[in-house]
Each structure stands twice: as structure tokens, then as C-alpha cells.
Symmetry: D2
Subunit: 345 residues, 4 copies
Amino acid sequence: MIKIGILGAAGYTGGELIRLLINHPEAEIVFANSESNAGNLVCDVHEGLLGETDLRFTAEMPFDKVDVVFFCFGHGKSEAFLKEHAIPNNVKIIDMAQDFRMAAPTHDYVYGLPEIHKAQIKACQHLANPGCFATCIQLGLLPLAKAGLLRYDVAVNAITGSTGAGQKPSATTHSSWRNNNMSIYKVFEHQHLHEICQSLNELRPTNAPAFADTLVAQPQADEITVDFIPYRGDFARGIFCTEVVRFEGAEGSATNPTAEQLSALYKEFYKDAAFTHYCDTDIDLKQVVNTNKALVHISKFGNKAVIISMIDNLLKGAVGQAVQNMNIMFGIDEKAGLRLKSTAF
Amino acid sequence: MIKIGILGAAGYTGGELIRLLINHPEAEIVFANSESNAGNLVCDVHEGLLGETDLRFTAEMPFDKVDVVFFCFGHGKSEAFLKEHAIPNNVKIIDMAQDFRMAAPTHDYVYGLPEIHKAQIKACQHLANPGCFATCIQLGLLPLAKAGLLRYDVAVNAITGSTGAGQKPSATTHSSWRNNNMSIYKVFEHQHLHEICQSLNELRPTNAPAFADTLVAQPQADEITVDFIPYRGDFARGIFCTEVVRFEGAEGSATNPTAEQLSALYKEFYKDAAFTHYCDTDIDLKQVVNTNKALVHISKFGNKAVIISMIDNLLKGAVGQAVQNMNIMFGIDEKAGLRLKSTAF
Amino acid sequence: MIKIGILGAAGYTGGELIRLLINHPEAEIVFANSESNAGNLVCDVHEGLLGETDLRFTAEMPFDKVDVVFFCFGHGKSEAFLKEHAIPNNVKIIDMAQDFRMAAPTHDYVYGLPEIHKAQIKACQHLANPGCFATCIQLGLLPLAKAGLLRYDVAVNAITGSTGAGQKPSATTHSSWRNNNMSIYKVFEHQHLHEICQSLNELRPTNAPAFADTLVAQPQADEITVDFIPYRGDFARGIFCTEVVRFEGAEGSATNPTAEQLSALYKEFYKDAAFTHYCDTDIDLKQVVNTNKALVHISKFGNKAVIISMIDNLLKGAVGQAVQNMNIMFGIDEKAGLRLKSTAF
Amino acid sequence: MIKIGILGAAGYTGGELIRLLINHPEAEIVFANSESNAGNLVCDVHEGLLGETDLRFTAEMPFDKVDVVFFCFGHGKSEAFLKEHAIPNNVKIIDMAQDFRMAAPTHDYVYGLPEIHKAQIKACQHLANPGCFATCIQLGLLPLAKAGLLRYDVAVNAITGSTGAGQKPSATTHSSWRNNNMSIYKVFEHQHLHEICQSLNELRPTNAPAFADTLVAQPQADEITVDFIPYRGDFARGIFCTEVVRFEGAEGSATNPTAEQLSALYKEFYKDAAFTHYCDTDIDLKQVVNTNKALVHISKFGNKAVIISMIDNLLKGAVGQAVQNMNIMFGIDEKAGLRLKSTAF
């Protein structure tokens, strides 16, 4: 059994992580830390756990008793925490915040997107779990990035549920306002753009070898740029994203693949992914809600392609992916604890 | 033109009142008072007014320039305000709070339910506007109360939208929690029970004369009691209420009317009501949303009857009824400014 | 591995059953029968299964290859099917419809509510799975029925999600109508009343022995009756139910228990239940959505008590309970395949 | 009083039109035609009209008694109807369908978008009312089209409520599927693209004069093209649209205006519009729901601009605009009957 400690366990992601881990066949929660809720029953704080666990929050942090610690802090607090607390070297860290998502010589955190970093994740001690929008958008674009096909500005529109806004009540999460409403925020300036572009440019074939049978990747000198409009949706869970990309050149050439080539490219790219599936059919958001799955679809229209990608923001977009990463880090079945029944309706 | 001042104009009811009054053909807002928002455009604070008004909030209260003042304070603040401020005798007051809803020798506020108090409203200087649940439940039960037919505990279940919880964000108005959820609160102890029972017992025929052609009202010695379960619904506007009452005696006798007699009783009771309509057909909440209407339906099952009553909590349950009361107080068309298009969908 | 056949596999309950069984550790779907969808991929028909199964619908019914058959037909079709098809004696049947829910000398189906019939379920060959409303309402009332405390008409108000109305589109499941709406139907006449009253009167202590330390059950000559108002709610999954019961006699006597005695009665009654939990705290619907759990809470007000009971209508109210029954019938862990992550938000 | 006949009065747009016209101070419904509902009360068929009208549907079409006829048929049926029925020359026609939206020598219908065609509407006898998406998207782009600033593919993402899908129940309007869901359809191929591009190119300054003080419009040889992704939203009313446009050249030049120039351009363009307002602040969909307003906002990011435009699809996107057009055609107050209270919540 993997022995687990959770810091920031009374927040949204902490709660969802506990909901996953209590049914994980090879994991055991040793402590769920929360100063403000110390002593309280977890099931009295987190929705949906009544009758399933007697676990209580604790103010303690017995790092010597665990194999891995999940940081469920708000952004910016993970780094601060580490300056004030020593975590034993043999304890792995999975950080939910954005503190270590950008690669830097000052830290050794691996960016935990299994679809591109599985080997590094397996080998790492410290992991930065990707953001929710970032995961969804990357999964829609990674195959094209790797094939050198993101040569023009990518237009991304992604709609998120209210759980993406966190636990704290505010004007824009007030049910009276959000119910049946729609709005946008942080247009072209969302903080996840950094990690998205980091991955896309990492895959970009700067002096490109062949990529696959179906397509020959072309060298691409220029950095990939993404125009991203985030929307506040009128639902609780999930991110539904469209990405529009433009190609040039004769259809069927290396710079302007056919619909069939694009479909083949995506299938090839995700053929070994445990939770990311390419679909030839139409897809809708509730097919992934309450699961760790990502679904991706691409269609061709003239010299443009439209991709749909979608995830549950709290699962594949947060703690589901974190548990997937944990499974990889500890060498167990990547799907352990993540065979979740889709809500479907 | 009726000249109007609004106190507490930056709150929920203040906003909805302004939405009504800017299109009222015989009313004019002279001032909309809000200390915290003084100087701000009303349309920047209240949803739905962009392009419709240049009105700004003011910290002033020029009572000498108005005919009527609406108190849109929270409960308990109206009475406090009046202790510290003098309102000229010729200025009428319409109070949205519950401070003066219970009759008392210490004040002269009339309980503003037009369906039973039209003459008093017409004559009054000071009016206490009914509560939202209170309005909905009374409109379902008043005809039976007047006929002396509420002899056994009345079972009331009423579901309210999130706007009933006010403007301030909280855990139970957080969209992530409220979306697709259902819960109850203040079971059997909701504060509106006082005003409900006040009206029902006021109508109760203690030494009963004939009530109508259809039914002979019976004297009823005992006070009427109501068991009320309020529900938090997963929608923004409206109250949907069922009331179950029990009769005894032979069907068709004065204490156990037939379905036809009940239907006739309700039609007779509401035949002159401007906004309350008895329906023989099935009804659903969205038929009243965004209108000042109340719809009522009664069915008989054995020796019990089930009533449905429903209103928009912000309109007939709050400022719509307040404007209706203002119209009556000033002797103008009762429907002026209240011919509202139902949202319907 | 329990080998499973599903008839009517393309309907709502068929879909949800497949969503459960593909992750059941000790079950295997041998065939999913649907004439109209024969040959189609299950994941193309049923939401939420993309990437999880390659199963296809079949027009065949190889009963000799299975241990148990689930009937996911509409009501009335199970009986008709059995007249035209022979199912081998050694194959167990779990019927989702209401055809065999009422005990009768003409059939041997056991009413599959594990909270009261666990031994019979374990021993049975044929099982009638309870209805959704019926499950929820019974779980709220069974402890009181057994204690002889349902002596007066029980007032039941239960709100169901749109999945309760089935898969076929109709006026009252049209999103434009149902969104943010509320209505009632089949008032006092819902077909589930039969099975509800069957269970309540089965437990009724007609010449009553002691029930528990906390309460001495009283003999109760009269049948229990239930007044049930079903509501159409503005959400997809779940049933939220309140039950109001009246007691008489001195508080603390056997006919009018105290709040503590009631709480103890419920805890005792459900102490061995795998999925039904008594809660002392406030509960809300989303605590059970997408789980097989039922949560129950009781409060006392004067000489009345208000119970809340709630379930997911498709799981504990349908196929979740069916799988629970299957687990009991085959002597395996009652929770196998049913450790579901609550949606929570 | 303008005397009105309605054909196809039992459909969605027919119902919403009646909801508007019963409160229109200068209009009177003479007949509401529906073969299938002939004799039925309008308020029994259309939500939200109980207590407001005694009007009944009729199978008759007394064209000699009306000044104007509204065609509320499905697409394609208006033209067919006119081939079989003679409408007197002095009776005006307002067609809700798309049959005559594209200018053609074969008909004299004016495209009824008041923001660009007010004089033609005033003078016309026959009017083609714009589509819902088409209205919303055009209002976001028209000022830029007129300034010759739509030189690169415009990226449009627009989310519509379920009322956009019409009255007939279907799989994608089923509440169980649509609730909390999100999907796309008719990607890049929506039929409204024709009328959108017709207007945009009509305004395009092909050999451009000065447009405004703030900007000098540039000649633009190439046709404007629009990439449009329609989304099915999880709400009933409204269209929320973003449009992304790209500029080239030095910021502040005629081909790449500054944020201030863009804002000034929009304000100037809409300064006389009765219902379309440019907003400098953030906007959200519910600000227009249940009104005839359109709100528009533009922001600049680098060499791109993001526009938000939004309307109520049944009002400004359908019958509200039709009534606005009728008002203009009959020379009365453009806002008559359209001073609607926003739902706001």
C-alpha cells in the first residue's frame, strides 16, 4: 500500500483527492492535514463522503510515515511551505499548484502530463501536476505540435464549470448569477498559457525527423502561440474546449494533412494513453464528467481543422491526473483507483 | 407622476425595484440611496440595466422631494432607521422587511396583501410588504381559511430559488453546491409562519356567516396551524408550493366540499384579484417567473385536497407586490408598470 | 466471474447497468441484447463509455452461457417476455420493471430491498428490483413502520430528476421547459404506492413484540397509508424526499418517541446496511448522486417528525440496487462494483 | 392600433410573439392561426399566458381584417405558403423564416436588421426577419466591416440556449442529456453564415470613403469570411458570442486601430440604435435575457481584438426584433411593446 499524506486537505482538490483515495485499492491515507479543520470528520466537511470514511483532519504532518505527500495548497503556497518545512528525501511530492510547472534550473519537478512525460514521471521524486485548462488544451493540440503543424496562431475557446473557480463563494460563483449565465474572463491572459506553450514548444520539431507513417513532421522555427478565451459555464464540473488551427499548402502535403491523416495522427499519438481517447464520433462534455478520461476529436474544414478536447476539471484536470501520476511514480497499474463510473446524466 | 425614493437601493430587492420602476408609466425615481455605492451608476451595479438608465446611487435622502419611500433594508433595519431619521408625514412608506408585518398597537403599518386588504392599503400611509414564502402560501390557503375549512394541520412544502437567499455569496448559494442539488432548511420554524398564520386566522370565521353561494362557512374555534418545510431549489427565481389539507364529514357537506365546490370557492375568492389567477389546468413554475402573477390550483383526493400555489419570489413575493401596493395607495391602475412578459423558458 | 446477460440493454437502465458492470471485479457481461441496436457499439449508444469497452449489442440471447439475466424492459414487458421465452432454471433473473414487485401466489419473485429482505434475496432465484421512488420513500419510513409508529397518514413529498422520466424525449423532459422549472404529477396516485405500502405493512407489528432497546413497538391494527406528491425537479439525477409523520401521546412514551429515541431507532435499523446510512447532520441531494448510497435523517418537531431520505434514482433507485442484489444472490461482497465516487459537485 | 394576424401561432416563435403583443400599447392580435390547435385557448398551449388573454387559435385567415401578418412557419414553408395563398397588397408581411433573407431579384423582402437597414425597413411592405445567431454575430462585427477592418478570417464562437433548437423534443434537447452538458454542431457550416456574410460584405467599403472621425475606412477587395462554431449551451434563453479579429500594420494606423479607436468606432456606429448598446464594462449573458437588447463589447490584445456580443435568441434574435421592425414599418415608437424587464437572475 502506498502511504499518503495530504496537505491542504480541506480545500476543493483535497476533498476530491480523498474521494478518490478511499476507494484506491493500493493506497492508504495516513494523514489529511488541515489546521482550521483539525479534529473534524472529513465527511462533515467534504460532500459525498458520509458513510464511507471515519477519517478526521489533523494538524499534524508525520512525513516519516508516508511515501508521498500531495500539496493541495493554493497557488504560490507550495514553494513557501517548502522553505519552512523539511520533507524527507525519500518522500515523493505531488504538487497541485502551479508553483513548479514551468521548468527551471532551480527545481527538479517534472511536469506531470503522462501523455508526453511518462518516463520522466516514473523516475521522478517531485511532480508538478498540470492545470485543468492546460491539460485539456494540450491534449487537443499535442499531436499537431509534435508534427510541426501549429504554424499559425491557434484559436482556443474553453468553457469551464464553476468548480474551476474554487471553494470560496464569490459574486461570479453565486448561483443566482451563474445559473443560466455565460461570461468570459482573463481573455488571452490566462496563467495556464505558460505551461501550455511550454509543452507545445517542447514537442515542436525544430529540426524535424519523421514523426509517423502518416505524416512527415516539418521543421518549425517559430514558437507556437495560442489565443485562449476562457468562459465561465453554467455547470459544475468539466472543461469543454475547441481549438481551431490553420494549415497552408496543398491538401495532403506535409503542411496540410487530410482529414484521414489527422485522424490517424491523433490515434497514433494516443494509442498507449491510459485515459486519453481519440473519438471519430461527435462528443459531448458529460461523456467525461466524473471520470479521469480525456476525449479528443478532430475535423477538417477546408484548410482548417477544429479539435474538441474535454475533461473533468477536478479529475483529469487535477486530482485524477495526480493519482494517475502517483500510480506511474510507484510503478503500479496506471488505472488503479481511477476506474470511475461516468455520471453520464 | 409618483415621485419615489429608494433606501437600500444597492441590494437585491432594490435592484429589482429599479428594474420595474424605470418602465413604470406613472412613476419616477427621484433618488436611489446607497452609502457604499454613492456616485456609481445603477446599471454598473444591478444586472440587466445597461442601456436603460443613467441613474446614479446617491448618499442623500431628499424626502421632501418624494411622495413615497421604499425601504429595501435587511430585516430589522427599518425600525432602527425610523428611530434615527424623520420622514415627513405626507410621505408614504413601503417597507420590504418584516419589521412591521405583525399587527401591533405600536405601529400603523398595513399588511400589504391586496387579495385581502385592498381597502386598507388604499387608505394607508405606511405599508408592510409581505414576505415571499408568506405571499405564496397564503394565496394557496386564504379561500379555505375564510370558509372555515382549515381545521387540521396544513402540510406545506415550498421550494424557493437561490435569489430567495439574497445577494451575499455563501456556501449554500455557491453554484458548485447548489447546481443540481436539493436541500431543506428552517423546517417547521421559518419566520414567515407568523405572518401566514396572522392572515389565515384573521379570515377564519369564528362565528361564521355565509361565505358564498357554493359553501356555507362553519364557525371554527381553533387557531389554524401550518407545518412548513422550505426547500432550496436548483433555480434562480420563483417559489413552487404545495399545500395539503384534510377535511372530515360527508363529501359535499359544509366541512368536506366536493372538487367542484372547491374550484368554485377559489374562483369566487380571486375573481377581482389583479394578479392572482385560479387555474383548472396543470401549472408549472415558469408560468409565473418574471411576472407579478400568482397561479393557484386545487385538486381533491378522497377527503384531502392538494393546492399548488406559485409566484416569482422577487416580484409578487417582493417588489412586484410592493409596486402593486403603491399603485393602490396612489389610486392608479393596479397593473401599471406590472404588465411583465413572462420568461416562459 | 458472474456471467451476465442483459435484455433491453439499449435503454436508460441498460446503459447505467453496463456502466457499472464493466468495472465490476467479479462480473462479466456475456451479452447485451437489443434488437434495434444489434451490431452497434455500446459506447456509441450509451453516454460515458467511450474508451472503456468494445462491447456490441447483439440480437442473440444465449441464456445457456450466463448465470443471471437482467430484464431492463419497460413496465409490463417482463411478464410478456417470459411467456414467449424459456429461461433455463439455473439462470437467475433480476427484473427492473414493476411486473413482479407485488407478492402473489402466481410468481416466486422476491422484492429486492436488501434492508429488509436480505435473507430472501440470498436464497432467491428470481428478483423484482424495487422502484426508485419506492426505494427512497421506504428507506425513510421502514424503521417507523417496524416500530408501529406510522399510525396516521404519512405526508410524502419527493422530487425526482429528469432521468426518472426515461430516455424518450417528451414535452416535460424538454430542456427548454424543464430548465429552472418545477411541477408535480400523479399526485396521490403514483404507481409506486403499492410496493411502498406492501413493505410498510409487512413490517407493521400487528401483534407486536419488542423491537429494540430504545422503543417498544406497539401493535397496530390499521393499515399504513401514505399521501405522496411526486415533483419534477430541475436536475438530472437523484430523488430528494421528505416524509412527515405524526405521533400521539406523551413525549417519550411508546407512541411518541423523543428525538433521541428516533435517532437511535434509525441507527439500529440501518446498522448493518451496506449502503443506507443514518446521518445526524444536515444532508443534501448531491451527497448521494452517482453513488449507490441512501442517506436518511430524522428530526422531531413537537409531536411530529420530519425525515429526509435521498438516493440516486438510477443507482440505489434502479441498477445500483440490482447489482447489490446480484452480489447478495451470488454470495459475494455486497459492495463489489459499487464503490462509486460521489459526483459531489 | 396595428391589426395583426399570426400564422404558425402555435409554435415557439408564435408563442413568444403573442407574449409580446398582448402588452403592446399600439397593436392588437386579430387572429392567431393554427390548424392543429384551432379552437384551443392560446394560454393553454403557450407557457406564461394564464390569466392574461382569452385569445383562441383559429383555423381562419381573415387577411382583409389585418394590417400585417407574421409568418411563424418553419424554414422553407413561407415561400410555399405564398404560392398557395393570396395576401392582399396592402397587408404587410414579416417573415420569421430564412426563406427571403438572401437578397434576390425574385423577391422584394428587406432584410430586417434595424441597425443597418432602418430606412429600407420603414419603406418596405415585406420583411425577412434575421436569424438569431445571425443577428448576434452581425451586431458584433458590423462596425468593423464598415471600417474595412475584417481583412482576415474572423473566428466566431457562439453558444445558444435550448430554445434555439425549437419546440419539438429531441435527443439533444432532452433535459437529462442537456443539463450540465456542452457540445457543438454544424461546425463552420451553419446556415446563418450566408446572411451574416451578406451584411458584412454589403457594408465593406470596396472603394472606401471616410467612415468616421476616429478611423478612415480602407478599401477592401476581398470578401469577408467567417469561421463559426455553434455550441449547445446548458441554459434555455440567450446567445453568447465571441468574435476574434486580426489586424495588421502599426498600432494606431488605419488598418490596426487602438483600443480607444475601436471603442469609439462601436459607440459611433450604435449611437442611434434603439436596443443595441456598446458597453465599456464586462458583460454577461443574463444582462439581456428576456429583453430585446443586444450588448456589445470590444477589447484589444496585441494585434487582435475580441468582441463579445449577446442577445436573447427569442427576442432580439427573433420576435422581439420582428416587433421592432413592425414598429418601424408603421412609423410608431421603435420601442413600443419592447420595454421589457430583464430577468437578471
